[in-house]
Subunit: 182 residues, 2 copies
DNA sequence: GCTTCGAACTTTAGCTTTGAAGTCTTCAGA
DNA sequence: TCTGAAGACTTCAAAGCTAAAGTTCGAAGC
């Protein structure tokens, strides 16, 4: 796709005002945090999407590369493990791996010790793509946080982690079908 | 879909350690903020998804209801405006409206003053669904922030807004194809 | 040794979205 | 009035996903 169709998004302030108008029992303080968080995340994903596109890979492929790299040497995982890690169905994983094998980012082979299993392994090219993506991403992230002092960064990280613990506690293990973009 | 396939996600700390191992020139402070933000947002979307599902609507439908309500009385918008607001192509909007009309959440009619245009209008049922969803969401959000003091909430909102301004400045207007979930 | 069960992956059918092409309406100029 | 161009929506084909039904291999019981 590439570029958005519209500019027609209200500012954060306008949006919060609209919420107040349409739904009174809403704490504007809370709503501001939640809306800013959601919006910020969306914009960041757009930025990541552009960067990976510039490298000729999709965001979906980037996720797979990331999972493999973070799994550590020898950069191998089974399709089911990858599917779980990325929050996809096994069927979707099969197709995604098909595409990535065709592009030379990963290889797929049967595990000879247990022929039911399949091993997906990162290729040198795949690893290089991930590294390039990380170089771009780290520059972007550093730039994003540039206005925050060291202390503010620490505090922000700490507060977000606290919120994270709270959601994870509130959502035992059920989860949902959302992609894994950290 | 419903429930996730896997529990196999590393903790935030494990993930950051893996990043350090595979990509040295990365500031752990920065990475922690970015990863926590992304992960938190994901979990929140899962929670919203469960809540809307419990009301018998999809997240996609919730987004449309939200756009219409926030547009204010008389809760009307054209398909193109909705598409821009939600970051969808006009084609996708056509289909989505089809479904929602069938479910009685909105109505679609031609604008008699300009027969090229179409007007999508929220029904009473659609508005009620949105209100129910908001009641659930506001409880969840309040609960999420419960451990934060009033001062912390203010600071968090302020810092996130600052980051938001920075991303928006860095990304003039191009945008991308991500759904609008605030 | 054969059979049955379970695990891991693939295949199939159906849905939602995209991008591109098509239709219908309005408006401006000849 | 007619013609051409632009705008707003819809239709169509193809991509990618989910859920459910295969397929194949390995392991346990009879």
């Amino acid at each position: 796709m590439g570029d958005t169709h519209g500019i027609g998004e209200p500012t954060l302030e306008e949006q919060i005002a609209a919420y107040q108008r349409e739904f009174q029992d809403l704490d504007p303080q809370v709503e501001k945090v939640v809306s800013a968080l959601s919006r910020l995340n969306r914009r960041m994903n757009v930025a990541y999407g552009r960067q990976t596109a510039a490298l000729g890979i999709s965001n979906a492929e980037w996720e797979v590369l990331k999972a493999l790299v973070l799994s550590g040497v020898p950069y191998r995982m089974g399709p089911s493990d990858l599917a779980k890690r990325l929050g996809l169905t096994p069927a979707a994983m099969t197709h995604r791996i098909d595409r990535m094998v065709a592009e030379g980012l990963v290889t797929r082979e049967r595990d000879e010790s247990n022929r039911v299993r399949v091993i997906v392994e990162l290729t040198a090219e795949g690893r290089e793509k991930w590294l390039e993506a990380m170089r771009l991403a780290s520059v972007f992230e550093e730039d994003l946080l540039q206005d925050l002092s060291a202390k503010e960064r620490t505090t922000l990280g700490e507060v977000l982690t606290r919120l994270l613990r709270r959601v994870e506690h509130a959502q035992p293990d059920a989860g949902g079908r959302l992609s894994d973009l950290d």
